[in-house]
Amino acid sequence: MAIVKPEMKSYIWLKTADGSIQEVEEEVAMFCPVICRELLQNGKGSSKNCAISLPERVNPASLELILEFCRFHQVPGRSNKERKKHDEKFVRLDTKTLCDLASAADSLQLRPVVDLTSRALARVIEGKTPEEIRETFHLPDDLTEEEKLEPLRNMTDDPRIRLLNRLYARKRKELYDRKKLKNVDAEEEPLVDERSVDDLLSFINSGDQDSKGARVTKNKKKSRGRKEQARNLSSNNEAGNYNKESNCHTSGCLNGDTNDGSSPSRNSKLQNSPSAMFSSKLDLDDFDIDDELDPARKEEIDREVEDFARRLDSVWPERIQQILSLGQETRRLRPISMNGNGSMERCTAGVDRG
């Protein structure tokens, strides 16, 4: 039923979602299963009026590419090498075009093009960081920090864990309070670091105090991000200093010098650095797990925690036994095996065969 043109080729009509209609050689278009079906089963495409409506995801640009693909491959007698070479060149497209093409080919069920474009897109993705991938494909950064880390504590389907975390938070606070009372003991502790245990703990626990009332961080990890920046800054400074020294030492060393004299100064630098690290606001947000809750709910949870703690204390020994019996394997006495080079394992320098 297709119109037969003088050159003995028959043409059919295709319509894309934007309304534009075009004429295509039948033998080329038939390469697509969907078009094939429309033509044979539903008898469409023989004239401009009853043009085959292509799926929405096929835009004109993709259609053109697809037809070009089909036009090449439907010619018999081409070698595999030729076809492969063509295909390799065919997918050298920008990412957006690749995506559109993959989409279009999928809706037309043109498997070879789907495969080609998918592989090409995989190569685009390979080796990239999530951020780079997001940029390339214009995707939103909509995973929360919690979801990215997948930590145990944010499993909303396990309220026990939430309670446990609260329990730990309170116990830590208790410890801090207790230490505060025992001031004398704290000072006696022989720390090489200048700061006392109190100071360190106060930094660790600073997040627990309401002085930070204004800070309502839904994404707790954002504060961690800031902290990390601060840490990087201070550590970069350190690294910078050391690098300067190390450059000197490299050349010194290769000239046969040994710079023992400078070690004391380097050591004292390090002595200051832990403090520097701590002072870069290591506010652990373990203590802020509930800061998105209202006070009434907080009270409720407090009561639950008390209750939970009591129950936990009573059943804990049993639970431990259960978990231990699950986790532990029966161990049999094994003879000391001497594989050919079993003696290797006792090698002092810590390098092995495996």
């Binding site: 957006k96 993959a102 999928d106 809706s107 789907v114 495969d115 998918s118 993705i125 390979e126 990239k128 999530p130 991938i133 995707l139 939103p140 995973l143 979801e147 116990k171 208790e174 410890l175 207790r178 502790e189 090489v192 670091d193 245990v197 990390e228 840490r231 550590s235 050391y242 190390s246 490299t250 060393c253 290769l254 046969g256 070690s263 050591n267 390090l270 832990p274 690290m277 652990l284 431990i320 978990i323 231990l324 699950l326 986790g327 532990q328 394997e329 029966t330 161990r331 095996s337 594989n339 050919g340 080079n341 290797m344 394992e345 090698c347 320098a349 810590g350 390098v351 092995d352 065969r353």
Partner: protein
């Protein structure tokens, strides 16, 4: 405007991403990609079995077909991790038996697996195909019998270097007569005899068998028969390679090897009788991998064999190869990528062989593709290391083991700081490094400054102070695993770089100077780390807080603390602090 994709297409794109790194990156892009990716993830690699729980894994990835787990820290290979430390695979097997009925592959390294687990595997996964147990222990041949008997579609059974309690060799007979699916069988680590008849029958009815590594107990006389039944082998590990020298047997053996036209990889060779080595000559030119690390033969026979393997890419050999043999290697094997030279007698006071730094220099000079080295020797110079570094900037793994701790450069009598410095400076793609010999803090300065792609570092008997550790932790951006023994590293560097530890898989420190107090502090500061103190002297709180702990193993985890620790392991956490004050 996002580049839109139908889900099926995206899934199809993901199917071409095979590396875990890429799949992990993809899952972190956005919510929709996260969801799509987790439903089509088929392969999981868990580098530390305690970093995540089976429950979390199963919840997130419901369609997994292949799981790979690693357990004990690497230094367990040197008996530094006491018995009973952990790495029990049973909870994983149990959980997976309930949630992954279509699981096909389980690969374990340094884990404890019992017969019970093996039985559970054999009965729970109808389509089970691949079991790889590298350096595992805890099971017997009874467990293997269960696998053999029940896994109808078994393709690969690889026992690696595991410690198996050998109750009987009859487990092999448990493979049913209609089991014909075997592609790879490695039982080299088994000590006792296996039923040779069962082995021969199994091999005969496995037309797809491409890898076969038999154990030492299989006599050389049985080899020709075996090889004739499975001439399609690509990888073959012999049993004992000695027998009474007889010319008719020799030609039999030679013919059997020649008939294996696809043979690329050889191993085994216990108790080698040099007279039989020429039987391998016909296959040498095809070999890409040769493991002679159990072969106690010497030069000239050893050198002669190796120099015929012109296509060799990987060679594992004992120090009997000596410098001369390595020079021959360098001259003849231009495709060599990996070289491992093991000590034949590491505890000898006087070395028996002439294997020196010259051998390694020769190979680095002659083999342009050399990228992976493990070299045990007794002497080294900075000059040699600098030469190696300049010759091979493409080095990826460099593990040097000068046997005696703190050995200096024998020419300058100084440390190896400059030598290893040259290595890290020149070899920009270096991913793994093991240090040895006399080393000061300076080498760590170099490492921190240059080894930006370094992922694993092993240190022993090196450094002067915390500065060394600080350089490494603050400088090595890609560091994932750090293992240290007998170094004067203490609290400061560790605490100052606490946040770094969450970016790494694990840190091992034994016989260092980290105090118990620092461990507690670290655990308080970093709740997502498990800080395990391993101390066989008794509870740490029976000693002063400033007392250094024996061993320390720190790893990041989303699974919280573990509850299967033995009596000599204490996990530091908030509770410890509370309980012990």
């Amino acid at each position: 405007m996002a580049y839109a994709f139908p889900e099926e297409v995206l899934e199809h794109v993901f199917s071409f991403l095979t590396s875990d790194k890429d799949r992990n990156a993809v899952s972190l892009v956005c919510k929709s990609w996260y969801e799509i990716e987790r439903w089509c993830r088929k392969r999981i690699f868990v580098g530390n079995c305690y970093a995540v729980s089976p429950k979390i894994m199963i919840r997130r990835f419901p369609e997994v077909r292949s799981v790979e787990l690693k357990g004990k820290p690497h230094f367990a290979d040197f008996n530094l991790v006491p018995e009973g430390w952990g790495a029990y695979v049973y909870p994983w097997i149990l959980a997976m038996s309930r949630s992954y009925p279509w699981l096909e592959e389980i690969k374990l390294k340094r884990m404890v697996i019992t017969d019970e687990s093996l039985e559970l595997i054999s009965k729970s996964f109808k389509n089970f195909k691949v079991l790889v147990l590298s350096s595992c222990d805890g099971f017997t041949t009874d467990g293997l019998a269960a696998i053999a008997a029940n896994c109808r579609n078994l393709r690969k059974l690889d026992l690696g270097e595991s410690e198996v309690e050998d109750l009987s060799g009859h487990w092999l007979s448990h493979f049913p007569d209609n089991c014909t699916s075997l592609v790879s069988l490695n039982i080299a680590c088994l000590a006792s005899e296996v039923s040779l008849l069962a082995l021969e029958r199994l091999v005969t009815r496995s037309p797809n068998l491409r890898t076969l590594r038999i154990n030492r107990a299989v006599p050389l006389e049985r080899l020709p028969n075996l090889l004739r039944r499975t001439s399609q082998l690509v990888e073959f590990g012999t049993g004992v390679f000695s027998a009474d020298v007889r010319s008719d047997f020799f030609s039999n053996l030679t013919e059997a090897f020649s008939s294996c036209k696809q043979l690329k990889c050889l191993s085994g060779f216990w108790d080698v009788v040099p007279a039989y080595l020429p039987a391998l000559y016909p296959v040498c030119s095809r070999l890409t991998s040769l493991n002679l690390s159990y072969a106690t033969c010497q030069n000239p026979e050893l050198g002669k064999l190796i120099s015929q393997c012109h296509n060799l890419q990987r060679l594992w050999v004992l120090d009997f190869i000596e410098d001369t043999g390595l020079e021959e290697l360098a001259a003849n094997c231009k495709d060599l990528q990996e070289l491992r030279v093991f000590p034949s007698d590491p505890f000898a006071a006087e070395p028996d062989t002439t294997l020196t730094e010259q051998g390694l220099v020769a190979v680095s000079d002659g083999c342009p593709k050399l990228q992976s080295v493990l070299y045990f020797c007794r002497q080294m110079t900075n000059a040699a290391l600098v030469t190696i570094a300049r010759n091979r900037p493409n080095m990826i793994r460099f593990r040097l083991c000068i046997i005696e701790p703190r050995t200096p450069d024998y020419l300058t009598l100084g440390s190896f700081d400059a030598g290893f410095g040259a290595i890290v400076e020149n070899c920009k793609e270096l991913r793994r490094l093991s240090l040895s010999g006399l080393l000061t803090d300076r080498v760590f300065e170099y490492i921190g400054a240059h080894a930006k792609k370094l992922e694993m570092l092993s240190i022993a008997f090196a450094g002067d102070s915390d500065l060394g550790l600080h350089h490494v932790l603050s400088g090595c951006d890609s560091l994932r695993k750090l293992e240290i023994r007998d170094c004067p590293f203490g609290d400061k560097a560790l605490l100052a770089n606490a946040a770094k530890l969450e970016t790494m898989r694990s840190l091992w420190m034994s016989s260092c100077s980290v105090s118990f107090e620092a461990c507690k502090m670290l655990a308080q500061k970093m709740p997502r780390l498990n800080v395990e103190v391993i101390d066989e002297r008794g509870p740490p709180d029976t000693r002063p807080e400033s007392c250094p702990v024996e061993k320390l193993y720190i790893y990041r985890t989303v699974a919280g603390r573990r509850f299967d620790t033995p009596g000599y392991v204490w996990t530091m956490d908030e509770d410890t602090a509370v309980r012990l004050t």
